[in-house]
């Protein structure tokens, strides 16, 4: 019997992960967070506070808080739940590379994240621009920039969530949340160039939300996007390396 291709292994693991996610509370929580964003746009429209400014604020909240939260919900338990449910034994006794587990989980979490958050972003834009039909198309590049930044954020925070899920099999959500609060929230208020280690800083540049004042650091959008992708890759390598070298005990 030959070993399955990595693509098959990743696809199968992502598929099984999605089946499991369908019944989990985390998927519904993530959906609720996305819906809340759209609902806030509707409320804003009804009270007359919508418009591009609201969209910018909503996108800022999305990149800083909503995407990280949703991706932590979707990804941080993806590997640890295999350990806790002991189903990891079926996967690791098959002729697949061990690192296909976090990769499959990552693909599953990212797909769900994109399906939830890209439409939520687009809907928020459309709702907030409802009264400004003339500006809808001229300002569409802002929507595209926003969508791109959200997609990058999904990729990055998904990787962080998966890495924490592989390294911390209990309370992985809490551990990842703690890490993001310190780095992504805490350091985002730091002065000067310290900000460059904060991924939301780069994501805000990509989305067009970042307008540096004098003395503030600034990077081209493309470079910021590349940094986010590089860090995404690094987190995935951390997750893969951890899984390859770790014995996951299921007899506790």
């Amino acid at each position: 019997m030959t070993s399955p291709s990595v693509g098959t292994a990743v696809r199968m693991i992502a598929g099984m992960s999605l089946r499991r996610a369908r019944r989990s509370h985390t998927l519904w929580l993530a959906l609720a967070v996305a819906v809340l964003l759209v609902a806030s746009a509707v409320v804003s429209l009804l009270v007359g506070g919508a418009g591009l400014d609201f969209y910018d604020d909503a996108l800022d909240v999305l990149l800083r808080y909503v995407v990280p939260l949703v991706m932590l919900l979707l990804g941080s338990s993806a590997v640890s739940e295999e350990v806790q449910a002991k189903t990891i034994t079926y996967l690791f006794s098959r002729p697949i590379p061990r690192w296909s587990l976090p990769l499959g989980k990552y693909v599953g979490a990212v797909l769900v994240g994109l399906v939830l958050l890209l439409p939520a972003t687009a809907l928020t834009y459309l709702i907030t621009m409802f009264g400004e039909a003339d500006a809808l198309l001229p300002e569409a590049t802002r929507l595209l920039q926003g969508l791109f930044a959200v997609a990058l954020a999904v990729l990055f925070f998904g990787a962080v969530a998966i890495a924490f899920g592989t390294m911390v099999t209990g309370y992985s959500f809490v551990a990842a949340l703690f890490f993001l609060l310190i780095v992504e929230v805490g350091l985002s208020f730091a002065p000067g160039w310290i900000k460059v280690i904060v991924m939301t800083f780069h994501l805000r540049i990509v989305s067009g939300l970042y307008h540096p004042a004098a003395g503030d650091p600034s990077l081209p959008g493309l470079l910021a996007a590349l940094i986010v992708l590089l860090l995404t890759g690094l987190w995935l390598v951390v997750a893969a390396s951890w899984v390859v070298s770790t014995e996951y005990r299921t007899d506790k």
């Binding site: 019997m1 099984m16 002991k86 034994t89 098959r94």
Partner: protein
């Protein structure tokens, strides 16, 4: 083949200085809970890495070795399973991850489920399965890709009597077909019903290995018990105790005696002869040693803190 294999979980010993070679056919791993059976099987399937010593499965090291893993089927002892999949989906998915094409995995999955009596339940979600059905689904996923080496950790757990018979037959047939099947259990008659080839484990070490009858020979220097049910046990006991073959006599009831002997071959003709001379009626003559339980009890008794006998010149433990 395990050569001086050890596995520690921090300070806790899983298995210690474990050497064994297992060939084709069915081999039973027998030992009480905590003996190291599951640890050994997890090492065999590459779920754990040895702390010390050498382990080769199908001639190669197993940790992270995809080539070997593709030739192994493993049924774990735990009840964890993909509850959100149907039986057919679960077994087919494991077949796919075992290297089969989608069509082949689906077809073989259904065939395997049918062999295990789950054809009608194949379309139902695993969460709706009873414990015995889940156990059979776990076995099916181990068999779906037709592996050369099968590792079944407590395979009869939770099964009803009919399923037990079915699974026992299947395991024997697999062994008969030339597969290497390793079955663990802490229940003696389960192993006895599947094979005569056993490895006895105790406190993470191999206590004895080989054919059950060979093991019986190895313990001949241990006292052998014979229970005699008769009408005047004390009278018979007085005559028997005079024989140099009889080490000790107990009277567990008004109409029974149990003797211990190091020479059962000498005692079995002596008992009816003495009974006949005294006119004592013997109703039953049984030896608790004729089952695996007695062998196990002998071997695990009086072993000191390590619980393990020294090896003989052939490297076997006696």
């Amino acid at each position: 083949m395990a050569d001086h294999l050890s596995k520690w979980y921090g300070k806790v010993v899983g298995i210690n200085d474990f050497s064994v070679e297992i060939g084709p056919g069915v081999t039973g791993l027998l030992g009480p809970n905590g003996a190291g059976k599951s640890t050994f099987i997890k090492l065999l399937v590459g779920a754990l890495r040895p702390s010390k010593g050498k382990l080769e499965v199908l001639g190669e090291r197993v940790w992270g070795n995809r080539r070997v893993l593709g030739r192994i089927g493993y049924c774990p002892e735990h009840d964890g399973i993909y509850d959100d999949l149907t039986g057919a989906e679960f077994v087919a998915a494991m077949g796919r991850l075992g290297g089969m094409s989608a069509d082949e995995a689906a077809r073989r999955g259904l065939e395997t489920l049918e062999q295990l009596g789950l054809a009608k339940a194949a379309g139902r979600l695993l969460r709706e399965y009873s414990k015995g059905m889940r156990q059979r689904a776990k076995l099916a996923q181990a068999l779906v890709h037709d592996p050369e080496l099968l590792l079944f950790d407590e395979p009869l757990t939770g099964c009803d009597p009919l399923a037990r018979v079915q699974i026992t037959k299947m395991i024997k047939a697999l062994g008969g077909a030339g597969k290497t099947v390793i079955v663990s259990s802490h229940i003696l008659h389960e192993i006895e019903s599947m094979t005569d080839e056993i490895v006895l484990l105790y406190k993470g070490q191999v206590l004895a290995e080989g054919n059950i009858y060979q093991i019986r020979e190895m313990i001949d220097n241990h006292p052998h018990q014979i229970r005699i049910e008769c009408d005047r046990p004390r009278e018979l006991g007085q005559r028997l105790v005079a024989s140099e073959d009889v080490r000790a006599i107990e009277f567990p009831g008004e109409e029974a005696l149990v003797l211990e002997t190091a020479n059962p071959d000498g005692c079995y003709p002596l008992i009816p002869r003495l009974a006949l001379e005294q006119g004592i009626k013997i109703r039953a003559l049984t030896s608790p040693d004729n089952n695996l339980q007695a062998v196990f009890e002998y071997l695990t008794r009086d072993r000191g803190p390590e619980g393990v006998a020294p090896r003989d010149a052939q490297g076997r433990r006696s």
